[in-house]
């Protein structure tokens, strides 16, 4: 009998296997149940295509979306259009990464109590954007394709993230059969999901590389005769600038000077700076993963290296990512990483509150400060400080050539140097022509709206 009874050891093996499995699942539950619970097939949290994610408001409490019972957007059609790409549409064409990311918080899920709630009280997501700024920005684009972003480089709050074209989710146009091209790429959120040819705003990257690597750069002068022959190719400038200092070269956006700087710095240094400054990286926050930019000098000829330093060749930047770089210049080399979700309110305490995180140090504080001064010089001497009364705006414009016969994209990026309104911004208008002429007035309107929104908060 002893022999037989000792063989019951296999029962212990089976029991151990069962307990191990249960333990593994329990651990799995604690790590993954917040994903499981918002699974798109769940009738507990979904109505049709959309998550029943409670209420969503802007930073000042303006209701943007109420999905506690069905799905109703704001009553203001302009606001509906201006926020649709952040909130998602009704039919699943446009998703909302930020609401999906916090879905488990929004539906009131907790690992202990599941979805159980005695009172059925809904939770409220408070976004960092301002409804008023969104509307102003959308109106400023006036139907032209493009994007506008503004964020606080000290706290990371995104005040404005607008993309165009858009439409009213309660009054959806016939996008499929549209022949005018007015809705091309309407399902994209251009601010996060696209990369643009930057044009001359990229000269800021070249400038940082120059400031950090060429000791006497501020004493240097450049000579521009309108063109520069290099390696059998011609770099064409936007004018004949004559003799220029470095500061004047940036202000006049002299292609010859920046082409020469790029070649002098060399492909390794230029590539290293594009990477270090985050141009080629994706930014990840609040469920958003931005498109990565591009900077590729693999096998490039000297003339191509020159063009890459001017923001042409194969250069691409993502607007949101580039806006953060503006923040870093403003903030001494390091900026807050942006975020869209301020907090999730539910019950007595907030279920989630955003915390500010920072980028790595992207550049020397000295280089950042020098470049900021140069960008201020741009505004004062070139774009006109009158565009931004009362605001100490520093900026760089760009006119991104897309090819023969196509009107270039207008680009404009910069920041406000002000402790109370530490805002970095980017404006891109597709086929907008001249950067500063098209974009500076838009930036002015939007920044004023932002400052007003911040003033209202006290």
């Amino acid at each position: 009998m002893k022999r037989i009874s000792h063989r019951m050891v296999f029962l212990i093996v089976l029991v151990a296997a069962l307990l191990l499995g249960i333990l593994a699942f329990t651990v799995h539950y604690f790590f993954r149940s917040d994903d499981w619970v918002v699974f798109s097939g769940s009738p507990h949290v979904y109505t049709g295509n959309n998550l029943s994610s409670g209420r969503v408001t802007d930073r000042s409490g303006t209701l943007l979306l109420d999905s506690t019972d069905g799905r109703s957007y704001s009553e203001d059609a302009a606001l509906r259009s201006a926020t649709m790409h952040l909130l998602g549409d009704r039919f699943g064409y446009i998703s909302s990464p930020v609401l999906n990311e916090y879905a488990d918080e929004l539906v009131g899920f907790s690992k202990v109590n599941g979805l159980y709630s005695l009172t059925d009280a809904s939770n409220t997501a408070v976004l960092t954007i301002s409804a008023q700024v969104q509307k102003t920005a959308q109106a400023a684009l006036a139907g032209r394709k493009g994007t506008i972003g503004v964020y606080n480089y000290k706290t990371g709050e995104i005040l404005c993230a607008v993309t165009s074209p858009t439409y009213d989710p309660d009054n959806m146009p016939d996008v499929e059969n549209d022949a005018t091209g007015a809705y091309d790429g309407v399902y994209l959120n251009r601010f996060f999901q696209t990369s643009y040819v930057p044009g001359s705003i990229f000269k800021l990257v070249t400038s940082i590389a120059a400031l950090e690597n060429i000791p006497d750069i501020t004493q240097r002068t450049f000579t521009c005769s309108g063109t520069w022959e290099i390696g059998g190719d011609t770099i064409i400038c936007n004018g004949v600038h004559g003799t220029l200092t470095f500061q004047e070269a940036l202000a006049h956006s002299c292609n010859v000077a920046f082409g020469q700087l790029a070649v002098e710095l060399g492909p390794e240094t230029m590539t290293a700076y594009a990477e270090q400054l985050g141009v080629t990286e994706s930014l990840k926050f609040d469920g958003v993963t931005t498109a990565a930019g591009s900077f590729d000098l693999e096998g490039a000829a000297d003339s191509e290296i020159a063009w890459s330093g001017i923001g042409q060749y194969t250069d691409l930047v993502n607007p949101c990512q580039y806006m953060v770089l503006m923040g870093a210049i403003a903030n001494g080399g390091q900026a807050a990483i942006p975020h869209l979700m301020a907090r999730v309110e539910g019950g007595l305490t907030d279920r989630y509150t955003a915390r500010t995180a920072y980028t790595e140090t992207l550049m020397d504080a000295a280089a950042a400060s020098q470049l900021a001064d140069m960008m201020r010089y741009n505004v004062v001497n070139m774009y006109g400080a009158g565009q931004f009364p009362d605001l100490k705006v520093c900026a760089k414009s760009g006119t991104a050539e897309l090819g023969p016969g196509t009107t270039p994209n207008a680009t404009f990026a910069g920041f406000i140097q002000d402790e109370n309104y530490p805002l970095a911004f980017i404006v891109i208008v597709e086929n907008g022509g001249s950067g500063s002429a098209t974009c500076a007035p838009i930036a002015g309107q939007v920044l004023n709206a932002c400052v007003a929104a911040m003033q209202n908060e006290g």
């Binding site: 002893k2 019951m8 029962l11 069962l18 539950y29 619970v37 097939g41 899920f109 599941g114």
Partner: protein
């Protein structure tokens, strides 16, 4: 009675009573369950393992060795029950067997020196007290224990139910049942059938308890665990489809009958041994009927319909299989080959594969491995069998690739959420929705998914009762298996030990396949969770398996499967 129910539901509608009581009960239920299972587990797992002494073996020089089992292996090896360290005695020499009527036999199990009883060489002979037994020339005598010793021994052994009263446990279980029924009735459109179903269950369980008391059996933990799981079963059905309550109650009653019949069969080992042949034939007959008249449902042809009642014969074959597989020590030691048993197992597994009931085939295969190992003790043999079967399986998959499709979603259910992973993803979503304490009984959504009350019952309970309750449900099964493992060393006959281990193994494997299939740790095979899944045949089979576990309960006055001395003798002490 019905007036009371009507007023209850009226009250619920007016005041949101169901919401309020639900809020409190969702924390109370796990506590009650823990209390009930804790009491059962403490009682089952912490008893004193005092061996029973059935006789003495007196050897040369007056040495007295205790014979503590009904089947005792004698020999020189350390692993023998009674170690006789004499050079002429073989390593395993003889098996001494006690019978129900108190008679003894001794049989040679391949010794060199042979056996002589009262001077006559024999390979197997009856032995009376006082007979001279020579093993390899060394003489022993079998000495009876006195009545006095027997009574002292009985008083020393842990008497079942002395420390932790099963009646009190049952009282807690009754509270659990009343609250469950109450909560379900507040939600239900027709509360009456639900209320009466729970009333009947509680009634059956107390009647059964009292019946056991009349039979002087005081151990009720194993049954309490089964009744606890059965309560969850009724709650699942009441939430999913109350019209099936009546059928399930009938099957619970039938299960109890099967439980008693098998207990009765096990009380007399000679009777049990004879029943093996009936069971073998019965098992084959059931499967033959199934193959001839089987109807396909959910991909497996394992259902038959008799007069509108559906039935799964393969569930009952499990009971037959254990009867066939269990064996006495004397038989194991003399007839070492298991050819017949292997052939029988292969036949049964073959039939199940023909019905494409792979889940059940897997259960039988594991049960077979368990029994084969218990009988042979040889890992090499088991490894050989597993390898051979593995090769067969690979070949089968190669020639019948459609079988693979059943397992294609395994580990990738979230990528196949609309097709092959549909059930598992919904199950996990519902487990998460329920959290640790559940959404409330009757409040789940999983009931709208196919087979949620059988294959996905772990998730069903988890959604409505919470993950804690679902895990307690698994621990209840673990508790039964742990009890079998603990009792093995004081088992009387290897027949009981092997059958109890096999039954516990089947319960464990079913639990594993069911739970792990639901949460995508294993492919979903459609196996029932013991006692909890909705299913009549499965319920009956589970009570049958429980009888084998009960048969291993050798605590004083614990089991109906173990005979007691006549009442008169008990009273004398």
């Amino acid at each position: 009675m019905s007036q009371f129910f009507e007023s209850l539901s009226a009250l619920a509608q007016s005041a949101g009573l169901a919401d309020l009581t639900g809020a409190a009960l969702r924390y109370l239920f796990p506590l009650l369950a823990l209390l009930i299972l804790g009491r059962c587990a403490r009682s089952l797992l912490l008893f004193q393992k005092e061996p029973e002494v059935w006789a003495w073996l007196s050897g040369p020089g007056g040495a007295r060795l205790a014979v503590t089992h009904w089947e005792t292996l004698l020999g020189r090896a350390k692993t023998c029950d009674v170690v006789l360290d004499y050079p002429t005695i073989s390593r395993t020499h003889a098996v001494l067997t006690r019978y129900d009527d108190g008679s003894w036999t001794i049989s040679d199990v391949g010794s060199k020196g042979g056996i002589q009883v009262n001077g006559e060489s024999t390979s197997m002979a009856a032995v009376d007290f006082g007979d001279r037994i020579a093993l390899g020339g060394v003489e022993f005598q079998l000495v009876p224990i006195t009545k006095e010793q027997e009574v002292i021994q009985a008083s020393v052994r842990t008497r079942a139910g002395d420390e932790i009263r099963p009646g009190v446990t049952l009282f807690f279980l009754t509270v659990f049942q009343i609250l469950t029924a109450f909560q379900l009735m507040l939600r239900a459109e027709e509360p009456l059938p639900i209320g009466s179903a729970f009333l009947i269950l509680t009634g059956i369980q107390w009647a059964f308890f009292l019946f056991m008391r009349i039979l002087r059996r005081t151990g009720f933990e194993v049954e309490s665990i089964a009744f606890f799981l059965t309560t969850l079963d009724l709650a699942v059905i009441a939430s999913d489809d109350p019209s099936e309550l009546r059928k399930q109650l009938v099957c619970i009653a039938a299960g109890l009958m099967v439980f008693l019949i098998i207990c009765w069969a096990l009380r007399d080992l000679e009777r049990a041994k004879k029943l093996r042949y009936v069971a073998a034939a019965g098992g084959l007959a059931l499967l033959a009927i199934n193959l001839l008249f089987g109807v396909e449902q959910y991909g497996a042809r394992n259902w038959i319909y008799i007069g509108g009642i559906s039935f799964q014969p393969s569930e009952l074959v499990k009971l037959c299989f254990i009867f066939v597989g269990a064996s006495t020590l004397q038989r194991i030691m003399t007839k070492r080959n298991m050819f017949l048993f292997i052939a029988y197992s292969a036949l049964i597994c073959g039939c199940l594969v023909l019905m494409s009931d792979f889940g059940t085939a897997l259960i039988f295969f594991v049960a077979f491995l368990v029994i084969a190992y218990m009988r042979s003790g040889s890992f090499a043999t088991i490894a050989l069998i597993v390898t051979a079967t593995g090769f067969g399986g690979v070949l089968a998959l190669r020639f019948k690739p459609y079988i693979l499709n059943r397992f294609s979603a395994w580990g990738h259910v979230w990528e196949n959420a609309l097709t092959t992973g549909y059930q598992q993803t919904r199950a996990m979503m519902c487990i998460a929705s329920g959290g640790l304490f559940g959404l409330g009984i009757g409040e789940g959504w999983l009931k709208y998914v196919a087979a949620s009350d059988t294959d996905l019952v772990f998730a069903f309970v988890s959604e409505e009762w919470g993950l804690i309750m679902a895990i307690l449900m698994v621990l209840a099964v673990v508790c039964l298996a742990a009890f079998v493992a603990r009792s093995a060393s004081v088992g009387r006959s290897s027949f009981y030990t092997i059958s109890a281990c096999a039954a516990a193994a089947i319960l464990l494997i079913q639990t594993m396949l069911n739970v792990f299939g639901t949460v995508d740790l294993l492919p979903l095979t459609g196996v029932t969770f013991p006692f909890v899944s909705n299913g009549g045949s499965s319920m009956i089979a589970c009570w049958g398996l429980l009888a084998f576990i009960k048969g291993a309960d050798t605590r004083q006055n614990a089991s109906v499967a173990v005979k007691l001395p006549p009442r008169k003798e008990m009273e004398e002490r």
